[in-house]
């Protein structure tokens, strides 16, 4: 068991955003989080990353309640890639990736070989080694997202949480980013809008509606025509792709 959520409730003011969410992520799997806009995906991810505390319920990392773990300790094993985090500082890619080492360094410790190795490996995995000295402002949308993933990988996480990382990317970059994440040797929880991409790359899927989970399981189990009608209000036919053997959705109208 990697991340475990038990009966999470989260409110902003009187509005209930998450209402009794329970699930677990198994080590090494890529878990897709689906649901219409406003269903609570982003809120759930922020709770999982420890950025917000639930009103009730608890989140555990290897059986340890993250409410009892310090911020820095969480950041040493859980990395979070926001939807579109940007900066007006003219940082180089390698400087951004080095930020990922922050939780592993104390206020006085110098830069170590371990830090260096983690950064190089992260750049390599994200395919950004050649762009290491490029300035942030000169990067394309896809490259920025890859730099963020490299930064997250430099944290040497066991869990990687991504909030709609493929938004605003062209199709080639969407697919290459999904392939990158699915090839990582760690647990990833990823919020997505494209159902076909989710079915194609994720090991398991969770579908949310109005702050609760309505379906969970493998893409084959979850992707049904009834669910698409109920949750996403679309008519669709689902067939098993002859090319990759995963469910493929044809939207009818």
């Amino acid at each position: 068991m990697s991340i475990n959520a038990e009966n999470l409730v989260w409110k902003i003011g009187r509005k209930t955003i998450l209402d009794g969410v329970t699930f677990e992520a198994k080590p090494g799997e890529m878990l897709g989080l689906l649901g219409p806009n406003g269903s609570g995906k982003t809120s759930l991810l922020r709770l999982l990353a420890g950025l917000k505390r639930p009103n009730s319920g608890r989140i555990t990392l290897d059986q340890k309640d993250i409410g009892t773990i310090g911020r820095r300790t969480i950041a040493q094993r859980v990395a979070f890639v926001e939807q579109h985090a940007t900066t007006n500082a003219n940082l180089r890619v390698v400087d951004v990736v080095k930020l990922g080492r922050f939780p592993h360094r104390s206020m006085f410790s110098g830069w170590t070989l371990t830090d260096d190795r983690a950064v190089e490996e992260a750049l390599e995995r994200a395919g950004m080694t050649g762009k290491r000295n490029d300035r942030w402002q000169s990067l394309s949308g896809g490259e920025k997202q890859r730099a963020h993933i490299a930064r997250a990988l430099a944290q040497s996480p066991k869990e990687l949480i991504l909030d709609e990382p493929t938004n605003h990317l062209d199709i080639q970059h969407q697919i290459s980013l999904m392939r990158l994440v699915s090839g990582l040797p760690l647990t990833s929880i990823i919020a997505l809008h494209d159902l076909n991409h989710a079915a194609m790359f994720c090991d398991r899927l969770i579908v949310m509606r109005q702050g609760g989970i309505v379906a969970a399981g493998t893409p084959d189990e979850v992707m049904t025509e009834d669910l698409l009608r109920d949750v996403f209000s679309v008519e669709a036919r689902i067939e098993t792709s002859p090319h990759h053997a995963r469910p493929h959705i044809h939207y009818l109208r």
Partner: protein, 346 residues
């Protein structure tokens, strides 16, 4: 290249840079000391300093020595520390709020300090420099809490803080004007006016002791937070996800800037634009990483302020311009350029 030889090289480069910057500040201070109704050559100033330190025993003109020690040297050194402190505060606020226009002056902290100090001067509460500083401190922190309350009460991000700062500046400037127009006489109003635009007139060694201690402490404390400030590059949420205790870091860093600003304003009045202009220039030269940016800001701020002080005394013969006038004359065109570029980028 091995890691240790690289770090040795870094230390050597760092020491060389530190010596060069100290020399540059020293030179600026030396020139500043030499300029005035009684011109003093650089060599005389240098000899006066080494004499006092007991390293040399050069025969010097007594009047020169008195002017150097009792008036000009303390003034130039205070100017250097004030410039360093204001530039440092500006850099920290710009990074923390992720807004290129943030600085103590824009965020109303200078205005708050002015109100506090003016209230003390005109209403005559307490006496002497201690209560004046206390008033400026109280005013600066009042503005600081006002901005903090207004920006967090509305659940806002960094942009709200800037808006709250604008509101704070307006409020405290209005309060200052109110106090001046309703309770002051003409002479007091003129004194206050001069002080509001900043002036290094009358600063001596006690002021130097205080400002050097506070800015020195501030610089060291901020350098310890250099990496935390880097982590704020992509916003509060990103910083938190890297393990930064965002709430604590904000409070500590804002309190440090409020402390430095309050000290400076209570001594020399509110001097605008140094905190805005210098960090941008420094970023242009050494890049955005704070471990380099913060010392660069301190050094460049110090040099800029000493040069501005020279200009304020040398531009018009027999007359001293308020230092804020000089910094604004340089700062406003620069401010416009930043605004223009910021608009294009977003």
């Amino acid at each position: 290249m091995t890691a240790s030889s690289r770090s040795l090289q870094q230390i050597a480069a760092f020491s060389a840079l530190l010596l060069a910057s100290l020399a540059a500040i020293g030179l600026a201070v030396g020139i500043s000391v030499g300029i005035g109704d009684l011109p003093i050559p650089l060599a005389t100033t240098f000899a006066a300093v080494t004499n006092r330190l007991g390293w040399t025993a050069v025969e010097l003109n007594r009047i020169h020595e008195t002017v150097i020690w009792d008036y000009r040297l303390s003034r130039a050194l205070v100017a250097a520390f004030c410039g360093a402190g204001l530039a440092l505060s500006g850099a920290i606020m710009q990074s923390l709020l992720r807004n290129p226009l943030a600085e103590p002056y824009v965020l109303g902290i200078s205005a708050g300090a002015s109100t506090g100090a003016v209230a003390i001067v005109i209403l005559g509460v307490g006496s002497g420099t201690v209560s004046l500083s206390a008033g400026a401190f109280a005013g600066a922190f009042a503005a600081f809490f006002f901005v903090a309350l207004l920006s967090s009460g509305t659940r806002g991000g960094a942009d709200r803080t800037i808006l709250a700062g604008v509101a704070a500046s307006q409020l405290f400037n209005a309060a200052t004007s109110y106090v001046v127009t309703t309770s002051g006489n003409a002479q007091q109003a003129r004194d206050v006016m001069f002080w509001l635009l900043g002036s290094f007139g009358g600063v001596r060694w006690p002021e130097f002791m205080l400002v050097s201690a506070i800015i020195g402490f501030g610089l060291v404390a901020c350098l310890l937070y250099a990496r935390v400030l880097d982590a704020f590059a992509f916003g509060d949420e990103a910083a938190a996800s890297l393990g930064v205790n965002v709430g604590r870091a904000r409070i500590v860093l804002f309190a440090l800037t409020a402390m430095m600003t309050a000290t400076i304003v209570s001594m020399v009045g509110s001097i605008g634009f140094v905190g805005l202009v210098v960090p941008h220039a420094a970023r242009f030269i050494v890049g955005p990483l704070h471990i380099r940016l913060l010392p660069a800001c301190a050094v460049m701020g110090a040099i800029f302020m000493v040069l501005a002080d020279i200009a304020s005394r040398a531009l018009i013969p027999q007359q001293v311009l308020p230092i804020g006038v000089v910094t604004a004359l340089v700062g406003v065109p620069f401010f416009s350029v930043i605004l223009y570029r910021f608009q294009r980028a977003s």
